[in-house]
């Protein structure tokens, strides 16, 4: 043990003399672990939230009985089923308004609630009594409590005037839900003896067949393993994961180059150790121990950084998920032990993988150095050929995936394969470029310049590959985001036809508002809309009622139409379908779709397809009058107005005053638009942040590679200095070399990035969100990115070059003195 410690001390002494190298290694590991675990933390947080939502008292994870028309049903059916041996538990669900917030209210029956329903509120013996017995309790998530601006123990009134039981925080609860005893819920929702659904627990025997107990009054809904929310948000998380993975690999590139160099430099030390009697096994063990120890330290720091990254990104992620999918993610990061373990694990595994070649080299090292000719050219050629062959194989995989792949994962697979292939191909490509330069060069210095650049290639290639990947992703993502935001703004302009939007609290208020508006001269048109919900092929589908108005015909954007589409819409037997839904149901213009309506099936000819960005639900647009005919329950609370523009603020103020409408119930077009754009910008805020992180890590990779390379390049530079080139001149040449290689890389990254953008827009987005955007290229943006890349390279190259320019001649002389 003492011996091992001494060997470890000797090995570690290397880092004391090579602090930059040590920092590089640690930075690589920390960056890799931090970004990866940060992304994982976010994903984990979101998944937990979905699980919570899914498991909350009969989310989709639990089998249940519901009425076929999705209405509530008498509680007597619950008793009947229990008495027939069915292990069911009743739930009543509804919405209540508290302090102007609309919240889901769930009434549960804790005594019969199946134990396996998931994270139901955990009630101890006395808790149960206080939950059930008057005044009872309202269980609420902490974040909901603060949303409602209430404190624990308060008993706020709901809009009907009835008071909730005192609020009690239940940490495991999903946000935006209040849980009360079923009896309380029946009273608050004014649904005496009514139940929304019955959760089915573990059967204890063989209950009588359902139909023999309740006839056709209830039907069974089987649990699904994956929630709608999970399916919808999958792409989002896959996106994050892809970024995490990319950063992880870029980090490992850094580790790989740092470890490679350190091991190379330490080979003589290892030989001396062995010559002095440290056995090979001891030295190798200590090498691994050292690496693992470093990985543990770096992993821990990385995890802390990852935690902060995740905490910083989470609000944006939560906002985008809420905006995009209506998913409720708590903004407060809570991490489990597994996350820490996994993070440390990935750090150690990453370090071992990145150091594998170096470790194997050290382990196989003979005690005696065999004099090897430095046939770098031969070695480099072999390496280039091998790597190019690998690149071709990866490209082939990309093609196969593109051709046969259907899923979102396949889409990302294509992306990953393309990028990996391009990265692998990069050194060969640069080599050819430099070789061409060398052939064309005139004069000894120029020739040396090209030849030396080629020789440097193997040392720099990993960093350049990292740069290529980071840049390509940047180009891809920026192009996609830009495309998206332009398309979205254009679409929004068409879609938001009315000048003022009003949402009345109920039909009565809606009618009152309409009557009031008719008297106002500044109102040019009153456009009534409506929304209903239906299930088509087991999916919830929104039905959007459009008023028949010239403004809509002119401005409402359609992707595809049948002739006279708007006219066909009016009678009520035709519909437009949203792009997402048309993809999901595989429905085109000219097809017919059947919508189950309360009065029977409603057949609709599809006469148009429209973009419906950002809507997780599929949508059908129909004439509003027809909608109300088929869905009489449709609330007639949505009103759009065409108003003379200068009169808008006055009208809104008057509306607010007259009908006590708040900001959410009445808004002008500009406000709605700004809000929508804000949500959509946040959608990509995370992507952009990760993008920047990745580019930063690639910059670090380049810097560290150049720094490590700078030292090993002295023997190459010293002879040039000796034959009369000044140090500043040498430094300038070196800088030019680095910049030109970086420029080549950046230029290569542009087409690759555009391919990435195309993949994102044409494959990933379509599979993830169901919409396809037109593909645009933004040249200015590309130039900007190339400039940024060059600037990053310049910054990275500057430090080693300054060191070279200022280097004491003695250090250069030493090269000759030490030369073997």
């Amino acid at each position: 043990m003492r011996r091992a410690l001494w060997v470890l001390a000797v090995l570690l002494s290397h880092w004391r003399r090579h602090r930059m190298q040590f920092a590089t290694l640690l930075i690589g590991l920390i960056a890799a672990t931090a970004l990866w675990s940060g992304v994982q933390a976010i994903n984990q947080q979101a998944r937990n939230a979905y699980d919570r939502a899914a498991a909350t008292f009969g989310g989709v994870r639990t089998a249940m009985l519901v009425a076929p028309n999705a209405a509530t049903f008498p509680q007597e059916l619950f008793v009947k089923l229990r008495r027939a041996g069915w292990p069911v538990s009743p739930v009543l669900e509804g919405r209540v308004q508290i302090n102007g917030h609309s919240v889901r209210l769930l009434g549960i029956e804790p005594v019969t609630l199946p134990v396996d329903v998931g994270n139901a509120p955990r009630l101890g013996a006395s808790d149960l009594n206080s939950f059930v017995a008057p005044p009872g309790q309202t269980l609420v998530a902490r974040e909901t409590l603060s949303d409602l601006q209430e404190t624990e123990g308060a008993a706020p009134p709901i809009s009907s005037g009835a008071k909730l039981p005192p609020l009690r925080v239940q940490p495991q609860l999903v946000p935006d839900v209040l849980v009360v005893d079923i009896g309380v819920a029946q009273r608050l929702l004014n649904k005496p003896d009514q139940v929304s659904r019955l959760l089915i627990g573990k059967p204890k025997g063989k209950p009588a067949p359902l139909a023999s107990v309740v006839g056709e009054q209830l039907q069974r809904v089987e649990p699904t393993a994956e929630t709608e929310l999970e399916r919808l948000t999958d792409s989002f998380h896959l996106n994050l994961t892809a970024f995490g993975l990319l950063s992880f690999f870029v980090g490992l590139f850094i580790v790989n180059s740092a470890v490679g160099l350190a091991f190379e430099q330490r080979l003589p030390m290892l030989r001396t150790l062995r010559a002095c009697g440290a056995s090979a096994r001891l030295v190798n063990t200590v090498l691994v121990v050292e690496l693992v120890a470093l990985a543990l330290v770096a992993g821990l720091i990385g995890l802390v950084c990852g935690y902060f990254i995740a905490a910083a990104l989470l609000p944006d992620v939560a906002a985008s998920l809420r905006g995009l999918y209506g998913a409720q993610i708590p903004g407060q990061l809570s991490l489990q032990g597994e996350w820490w373990l996994a993070g440390i694990g990935i750090s150690v595994a990453g370090a071992l993988v990145a150091a594998a070649t170096s470790l194997i080299k050290a382990i196989r090292m003979p005690v005696l150095a065999t004099a090897q000719p430095r046939a770098w050219q031969q070695r480099q050629r072999r390496w280039l050929i091998l790597q190019s062959a690998a690149a071709c194989m990866v490209f082939a995989v990309a093609l196969l995936l593109l051709h046969y792949g259907q899923s979102l994962i396949a889409g990302f697979g294509v992306l990953a394969a393309l990028m990996l292939g391009a990265a692998l191909m990069l050194p060969a490509f640069l080599d050819i470029l430099l070789l061409t330069g060398q052939r064309l060069a005139r004069g000894p210095l120029a020739s040396w310049f090209w030849a030396d650049s080629r020789q440097q290639l193997s040392g720099l290639s990993l960093a350049l590959m990292a740069l290529l990947l980071a840049l390509a992703v940047n180009v891809g993502v920026s192009t996609m985001v830009e495309t998206f935001s332009r398309t979205f703004v254009g679409w929004l302009n068409g879609r938001l036809a009315a000048d003022v939007y009003i949402s009345a609290s109920d039909n009565a208020q809606g009618t009152a508002i309409r009557n009031w508006l008719k008297e106002r001269s500044e109102v040019q048109a009153i456009l009534s809309g409506g929304r209903a919900e239906a299930q088509i092929q087991g999916q919830p589908v929104e039905l959007l009622g459009l008023p028949d108005h010239a403004l809509y015909r002119e401005r409402w954007p359609l992707l595809e139409t049948a002739p006279r589409a708007w006219t066909q819409l009016v009678p009520g037997n035709a519909a437009f379908i949203s792009e997402q839904l048309s993809r999901r149901l595989n429905v085109r213009v000219g097809d017919v779709i059947e919508v189950p309506a309360p009065g029977g099936s409603w057949e609709l000819d599809i006469v148009g397809i429209y973009a419906d960005y950002g809507n997780p639900k599929g949508q059908l647009a129909v004439n509003v009058a027809a909608l109300i005919r088929h869905f009489p329950q449709t609330p007639q609370t949505r009103i759009g107005l065409i108003v003379a523009h200068d009169k808008i603020p006055g009208l809104i103020a008057a509306l607010q005053k007259q009908f006590a409408l708040d900001d959410r119930s009445v808004a002008d077009q500009a406000t709605v638009k700004a809000e929508s754009i804000r949500i959509f910008n946040r959608t990509f805020a995370v992507t952009s942040a990760l993008n920047a992180f990745t580019l930063g890590v690639a910059g670090i990779a380049l810097l560290t590679s150049l720094l490590t390379l700078a030292n090993s390049r002295l023997p190459q530079l010293a002879p040039l200095w000796a034959i009369g080139l000044t140090r500043p001149r040498l430094a300038a040449i070196e800088l030019t070399k680095t910049l030109s290689v970086a420029l080549f890389t950046a230029l290569l990254a542009v087409p690759l990035g555009l391919v990435v953008a195309w993949c994102l827009i044409a494959i990933v987005n379509v599979k993830a969100f169901g919409w396809r955007l037109p593909f645009h290229v933004f040249p200015l943006q590309l130039i900007e990115l190339v400039a940024v890349a060059l600037l990053a390279s310049l910054l990275a190259a500057l430090l080693p070059m300054l060191r070279l320019a200022r280097m004491q001649p003695a250090n250069l002389v030493k090269v000759f003195a030490n030369e073997r």
Binding site: E76, G85, A125
Partner: protein, 360 residues
């Protein structure tokens, strides 16, 4: 069981402040030692009225309908059944309507053979019809378990009845007949449980003849034998320093019945009690000083040592028997847990019966 475990289990706590038996023992077994503020008190001299008293007494805190049966199947192998419905009021006061009702119901059912012991439990809230008891016609039910009379059921004998219960891996259905009336326990139905006045109302029907089907793992067999029902209600039947009880109901081969129990106290003393019921139905209380109950062998189940074999003697009646369990593993691992199983005995008298051990 940890205190934050979910509702249903913890719920048994509702019915009896639950089953951290160790914690419970601090306040008497299963919270039965709590004070009875707001609930009706048990006082001597009550006149029982049937069928009304077969029904629930919600003004009292707790109440049960407790039936055990000693049976044999067609091959002559012994088996035992238990069916119990418990009621507990979470609060005193007027009965709430619908979900606001404060009654909480719990039921246990078990089937025991020499090699197997199966049990299940159910919970329900009162007020909505999922569980309850009606006196006339008699019916006690929770979910699809029930003990039910007919129009012709005699209020004095509480017979005939049908009985059924099921779990994931067992079920049974019995019919119960009896031709002798109920037996009032203790002092004309007033059963004193401590020197300080804790008591319950307690009567029994020990003369049931039972016949029916028992199915374990979907293998039904016909069974026949005798059964014993206890009806008991109270608001505070145990004294705070009483930790549990050892209770026996014995069917003697002679046709006589014997009910025996001892309440154990924290100080190690116990409070034995007995009632001898002749085959014709006359009862005679046995003085505590005349009862010797000696544990002979213990079984270790769920980390507890349970005295499942007993040497019992009543010298004044020249009665001395050794009781052995049919299955020493008759542990009711329910929300509040206890041992309950069929026994057989031999000595000066032979017969079968049931043993219940609580508070261990």
């Amino acid at each position: 069981m940890s205190a934050d475990k979910i509702s249903r289990r913890a719920f048994a706590g509702g019915i009896a402040a639950l089953a951290l038996a160790r914690r419970a023992s601090a306040q008497g077994y299963a919270g039965l030692g709590e004070t009875a503020d707001g609930f009706a008190r048990v006082t001597p001299g009550k006149t029982f009225a049937f069928p009304a008293d077969h029904g629930p007494h919600p003004e009292f805190r707790i109440e049960w309908w407790y039936l055990t049966a000693n049976l044999v199947d067609s091959s002559g192998a012994a088996c035992g059944l238990q069916w119990t419905l418990f009621r507990q009021a979470a609060q005193p006061g007027p009965q709430g309507e619908g979900w606001a009702n404060q009654q909480i119901w719990m039921a246990h059912a078990a089937a025991t053979r020499a090699g197997t012991h199966r049990f299940n439990e159910l919970f329900s809230r009162g007020g909505i019809g999922q569980a309850g008891v009606t006196a006339k016609p008699f019916a006690a039910w929770i979910d699809d378990w029930e003990m039910k009379g007919f129009e012709r059921t005699d209020d004095r004998t509480l017979a005939p009845l049908t009985l059924k219960a099921s779990g994931t891996d067992f079920s049974y259905a019995l019919t119960l007949e009896a031709d002798r009336p109920m037996v009032l326990q203790g002092d004309r139905g007033f059963s004193r449980k401590s020197e300080r006045g804790q008591a319950s109302y307690y009567y029994s029907q020990p003369f049931y003849r039972a016949r029916g089907t028992l199915s374990i793992d979907d293998k039904p067999v016909d069974v026949i034998g005798q059964a014993w029902m206890d009806r008991e209600w109270s608001s505070q039947p145990l004294d705070a320093d009483q930790t549990g009880w050892d209770w026996l109901s014995l069917h003697l081969a002679s046709g006589d019945k014997l009910m025996l129990y001892r309440l154990r106290q924290k100080d190690g003393k116990d409070y034995p009690f007995g009632n001898w019921i002749s085959a014709s139905g006359e009862t005679q209380m046995i003085a505590g000083s005349d009862i010797q109950m000696l544990p002979k062998a213990t079984a270790e189940i769920a980390g507890r040592k349970l005295p499942v074999e007993w040497q019992i003697a009543i010298p004044s009646r020249s009665f001395s028997i050794l009781c052995k369990p049919l299955n020493p593993n008759a542990w009711m691992g329910t929300g509040f847990s206890y041992w309950e199983g069929p026994i057989s005995f031999a000595g000066t008298h032979d017969g079968v019966g049931y043993l219940e051990l609580t508070g261990y």
